[in-house]
């Protein structure tokens, strides 16, 4: 994932979780970020969608919060969507 995209997503995380010092690491799970509950998860999804102009499917939104998923897998999903969008454009 490009540094620029990572920085953009990190800024969205900081805004949604109201934590300016938050630094994303791939191995972080939802339990490692304080306040990542079901409601905040959707707020995060909506904020990422708005910022990057992408769309998440229902099954993808649920999957990102299931056990075994982490920030790394979420970032990879975002990267694939941004790449697909740029490919279409």
């Amino acid at each position: 994932m490009s540094e620029e995209l990572r920085a953009q997503v990190q800024q969205v995380f900081r805004d949604v979780f109201d934590d300016p010092s938050l630094v994303l690491r791939d191995e972080m799970a939802s339990e490692d970020i304080e306040g990542w509950d079901s409601l905040t998860h959707i707020n995060l999804i909506v904020a990422v969608e708005r910022k990057l102009g992408i769309k998440f499917a229902t099954a993808e939104i649920g999957r990102t919060k299931e056990p075994g998923q982490n920030v790394g897998s979420f970032l990879r999903m975002i990267e694939a969507k941004v790449a697909a969008k740029q490919g279409v454009a």
């Binding site: 079901s38 229902t58 939104i61």
Partner: protein
Amino acid sequence: MNVCSFPFLLGVGLAAILFHLAPWKGPRRLFLTVVNVAFLVTQVPNWRSWLCFAGFFLLTYGVLRFLKARPSRDHLIASIGLVVCVFVYLRRYDFVNLLLGGGWAPNEVLSGVELVGISYIMFKAIHMMVDQWEGQLAPYGLFSYLNYQLAFFTLLSGPIYRYNDFQEAWQQMDMGPGDARGTLRCWGRLLIGMLQMGLVAPLLWEGFDRAGRLLFNPSAPDLLQGLAGRFYVYPFYLYFNFAGYTNIAIGAGGLFGFRVPENFHYPFLSRNMIDFWNRWHITLSWWIRDYVFMTSYKACAERFSKWSRLCGYGLLFLALLIAGVWHGTTFAFVAFGAAHGFGIMAAQIYTDSLKKGLGRAGFQRYVQSRLIHGAAIVLTFHYICFTFLYFSSGVDGASFWFFSAMTLMKAPGSAFSALRLTWWTGGSILALTVLAVAWWNSDRLMAGLRGAAARLPQRTSLLYAAVCSMAVLTTFVLLASWALQQKDPVVVYMRF
């Protein structure tokens, strides 16, 4: 055929052997289809039920194909609405009668109709419709859809298996049989499930029944034992019945190469009601989370971001209310859903308030406090027991408390006499003390258990021994049950 019975055990064993003897993907698929249809035949009692079942199944498939041919948001909403309406009609909900002013007469039309697993067919069909519309669904045809919906190991009561996971196993069917340890683990799960469902759950039911007799004895009610029995035993009965069934489903599915998802994760150790729904009937709560709550909350957050949190609380309540209503057709289940909706909404509001009030560091300290965690588990457990009063036959929460209060008013002496130190109350106090000490030392205890498990030799022969012992015990339980002419235990969730 009951899943906790000898014929099922023998049938699964025989079918698994024949399945793995089949040389290619095609014959295996065909054989599994025959097994699934044969199991379905044992579950549908008459031609009227067949007609309704087949109609509902074909409707869901037809709607899926229609949506594939003509994808549009309006068609999707109309299709989901149609499937839900037919489902509500077939389920004969009491509250619909009230809403329609008594003009609802499906009981006469559907007389004698007994439908198995249609809730799960609906859940799976809606998930496929939405995922197909969003381009997330793996390829399917009538053959794979039929086996997905009618798979004998998930037909009666789930767990709700997502189609893409099913399809992966359906595609890989030409692989050779799994290793011995994997097969033994599947047999272990199946046998544990049979023991939970056939031995533990009936014993708990007996305790629940006995408590009812003690409580409702008009001459000399035993208030303490009766209340405690009614209040505490039923959730455990329901858990062992349904978790037992789930273990059977996971074990049986595993023998045919399907990884059926887990449905329970120590639900009575939940910290709050949000946590509870991540541990109880997990596949249902995740389905509701994805296809009811998240979809509606996302729409709300996109449109009214300022009010989204408030909207989220309301939607949490609504999602659990729907879950409750799904569980049964009477008003008691509406109350059950409302109690769970209130519980989950209160937990979310309380957590949000704590975060605001205590700040980041204070909230961390609060979450990590063992005393608070222990107290939260005890409180949540009691709330869960309260809500499950709505489940227990013939008693709902309100009538339970009303009856208890009336008994106390009529015979106040019975409450005091019940407080005498019997073996039961003494045992309960001792058990609670042991639990409290264990909780306080849980880190050390868990480290010790992990160490002991690591020291155990990981030999397949041990697994063989464990599975053989369980097979002997299960055989004994099923034989004893048959000899004593006991009815095979039914899956409580099958009614839903």
